[in-house]
């Protein structure tokens, strides 16, 4: 290789790098709002992987495009290309580069994971012992008993044991470690709040401790993320992150409210007997559990981010 080719190659690599870094920065905008301490970590990881991914993608595609554009055989040219069968140093290099990249991506992911220390079910005995580094504030309230999260076909219900309140909307104080205890009464469900970047399957027959730290006030969507049958899509509700005062206020107000049946999409749809679909076909389904009886019922029409 002469000096010119090397220069051109280095120039291209630098250009590739710049574009990739730029794409990596864009990656933050593809995500929902950063409403938990974990989300910041995940987004950094995603941006990093997007940068590396773009670099590889652009590099390889660039080479391919160049060949496609400039190395085509002329119309009546029936000759063969040079009979190059391989090049050991080159092959060693392109085995080594992915290995290094993998170690890099793996380490970055491992560190991110470590700092999130989302508690898996196997660790639930150790709950409360390991505070994630991501938690910016450790307050005494964090020692409170966890909020019970009940998933069922097809409703979410939250129970605050200290106040003995039931609600279909999850309220959490901002900047405090949220502690939940997930359980399911029938099939697998998944606890998923995109704005928090956290997710955990809810497994029947197990109680799973789950922690994260909300850092931004607002109302976000909480979704069922493990397919749970007919009305799976409708099994959604909201989570409200509010200031400590608002949160206390909410708890006291709601404690005084009488239990009433909540709005429940699955149950209502099931009881509407006619199918209004153009393809008037429907099959027998598992009967939804009746709407939960709660002190505070959320509404599907509530605004969420």
């Amino acid at each position: 290789m002469n000096r010119r080719t090397i220069l051109v190659l280095v120039g291209l690599a630098i250009a590739d790098l710049f574009i990739s870094v730029w794409v990596g920065q864009q990656a933050y905008h593809w995500m929902p709002p950063q409403a938990s301490a974990e989300s910041v970590l995940v987004d950094n990881l995603f941006s990093f992987m997007t940068t590396i991914g773009s670099f590889i993608f652009l590099g390889v595609v660039g080479a391919l495009l160049y060949a496609i554009l400039f190395q085509r055989a002329a119309k009546y040219d029936a000759s063969d290309g040079p009979p190059i069968e391989g090049n050991i140093p080159l092959e060693v290099v392109w085995t080594a580069i992915p290995i290094l990249l993998v170690i890099w991506i793996g380490t970055f992911s491992y560190q991110t994971y470590d700092r999130m220390s989302i508690l898996g079910p196997m660790e639930h005995k150790a709950m409360g012992m390991s505070m994630a580094e991501a938690a910016p504030v450790a307050s005494p309230e964090a020692e409170q008993s966890p909020i019970n999260v009940y998933a069922r076909q097809w409703a979410w219900e939250f129970h605050y044991p200290a106040q003995n309140i039931r609600s279909t909307e999850l309220h959490l104080p901002v900047n405090q470690r949220a502690k939940l205890l997930l359980s399911s009464e029938d099939v697998l469900h998944g606890f998923f709040v995109p704005a928090f970047r956290v997710k955990q399957d809810v497994v029947p027959g197990q109680e799973i401790g789950f922690e994260f730290t909300p850092i931004r006030e607002g109302r976000y969507r909480l979704r069922d993320s493990e397919y749970s049958g007919t009305y799976f899509a409708a099994n959604q509700t909201n989570v409200v992150v509010e200031s400590a005062e608002d949160y206390e206020q909410w708890l006291t107000t709601v404690a005084s409210l009488p239990p009433t049946p909540a709005q429940n999409v699955a149950y209502e749809e099931f009881n509407r007997t006619t199918t209004q679909n153009p393809i008037g076909l429907g099959w027998k389904t598992v009967k939804p559990a009746p709407a939960p009886i709660v002190n505070y019922a959320s509404s599907e029409d509530d605004f969420h981010e």
Binding site: M31, P32, V42, L45, F46, M49, G53, I56, V60, L64, A67, I68, Q71, A73, D80, G81, P83, I84, E85, G86, N87, W94, I97, P98, V102, I105, G106, S109, T112, Y113, I118, G120, M122, D186, V187, L188, G190, A195, R197, Q200, D201, V203, G205, R221, R223, S225, E226, Y227, G229, T230, A233, E269, T275, N277, L281, G282, W283, K284, T285, V286
Partner: protein
Amino acid sequence: MSNASLEVTPPNLQPQPGAPDNWRRFFSFSTDHKVIGIQYIVIAFVFFLFGGLLAMIMRGELITPEADLVDRTVYNGLFTMHGTIMLFMWTFPMLNGLANYLVPLMIGARDMAFPRLNAAAFWLVPIFGVILTLSFFVPGGPSQSGWWAYPPVSLQNPTGNLINGQSLWLLAVALSGVSSIMGAVNIVTTIFRMRAPGMGWFKMPAFCWTVLSAQIIQLFGLPALTAGAVMLLLDLTVGTSFFEPSRGGDPILYQHFFWFYSHPAVYVIILPIFGIFSEVFPVYSRKPLFGYKIVVLSSLIITGLSGIVWVHHMFASGTPGWMRMLFMFTTMMISVPTGIKVFAWVATIWGGKLRLKTPMLFALGGLFMFLFAGITGIMLSSAPFDIHVNNTYFVVGHFHYVIYGAVVMGFYAAIYHWFPKMTGRMYYEGLGQLHFVLTFIGTNLNFLPMHPLGLQGMPRRVASYDPEFAFWNVLASLGGFLLGVSTLPFILNILSAWVRGEEAGDNPWRAIGLEWLVSSPPPHENFDEIPVVVSAPYGYGSNEPLVENNPTKELASEHS
């Protein structure tokens, strides 16, 4: 009938498998590997259209946020059957078809090792295909638990009937497993025992290597799925409680059984596509496959790694932290052997004399999209990130990029490339290129929007969704319909070329390989005289003969 009657028949009257004039043999219990190969390919493609039709109804539902076009139960049945049909009725039979047709020709054998077993394995395909299709008509409809059939949802059986969509689904999957095992035993034996003299392991075409690797995965993976399926079936029908948590069972154990097979299964699908890329790029770049040895060995490395990564589908399932980290690293390692292949293909193309015929276009398009999908795959393997996008459309986007972008495109490349060999006729280049353009645009339009959707948190397997997701879903649906349209020029092209296309000649691409030494379509029993191989498989540019004898001596003299 005696031998004598065969001898008086002029060779050109011998039935040529592939030519439409004796189409009846395609409906018979033929033991000829070439007939069986085409039988597999055609039936697989019919089911591809069926599975695609279901997908288009799904996209119709998803074009608006509400669950309006079909009932929710119907939507759930649709995606379950779509996934099942596409994997078990399209990709696997399609691969077996190509392997059946090509492997004996490429290794210089007259047939597969066990021709009757081969035919039996094939005829199971329509049987379980019909069972699966019929499950639409039983009370309660087809299985609605997704293609994973996770318990407890898959055990719920609201109709209470013994014969229900779920049990038929299990039956079909079990039969598919039996058929695949039969096929795998046959193919592995053939490759090990029936290579032509002189064809050492490192003179074998890359495609055969990838087929071998893929079939080894079937052999060690499928039994695990079978074990899980048997236990699920017992739970569903007899009332045992292996996976029923309310009675002491463990639903997560099922997930391990399922993914222990179904992760490697994705490499069963992609490996032969890698093989196709490795065959196609050298021919249309007129250069040898770069780094042949390491490329073929990397298939075996992928096979090995594929068995130790399955938990990456279960990062959010309640998997302990150490398992998440362990399987994250093993999964990422896959990118090393895969990267070796990708770079080798680029180096093969680089500096060549490119001819952008339809097969080459599809292979290039497939490589492009595989690269994209591989990168999103590596992102998914990073546990903290996967926890966010698991069970969202990001995953759906990832795997359709591989499975449509790379696998379906790879199949198209293979069909166009070997079509002249299989039928003796040439497809129409213009239609082929139109097909490519539509497919390429359609695939990206359909599946790219799924990535932002997933990042934003849209779950998969939903018939309705929040209105903020509408924009990207409309684009995806349009892309889906475009993909449906894109199959039409292909069907038109293949059918009309098969019936009245131009004569292609024995080797229209001037390709190197044993299959190109025989006539098109190849004669019965392939070779008059078993070829004796003397050089490496990709001798472009070096003018060495591939074999030292002429395997078609008699035919060549009496024919044409």
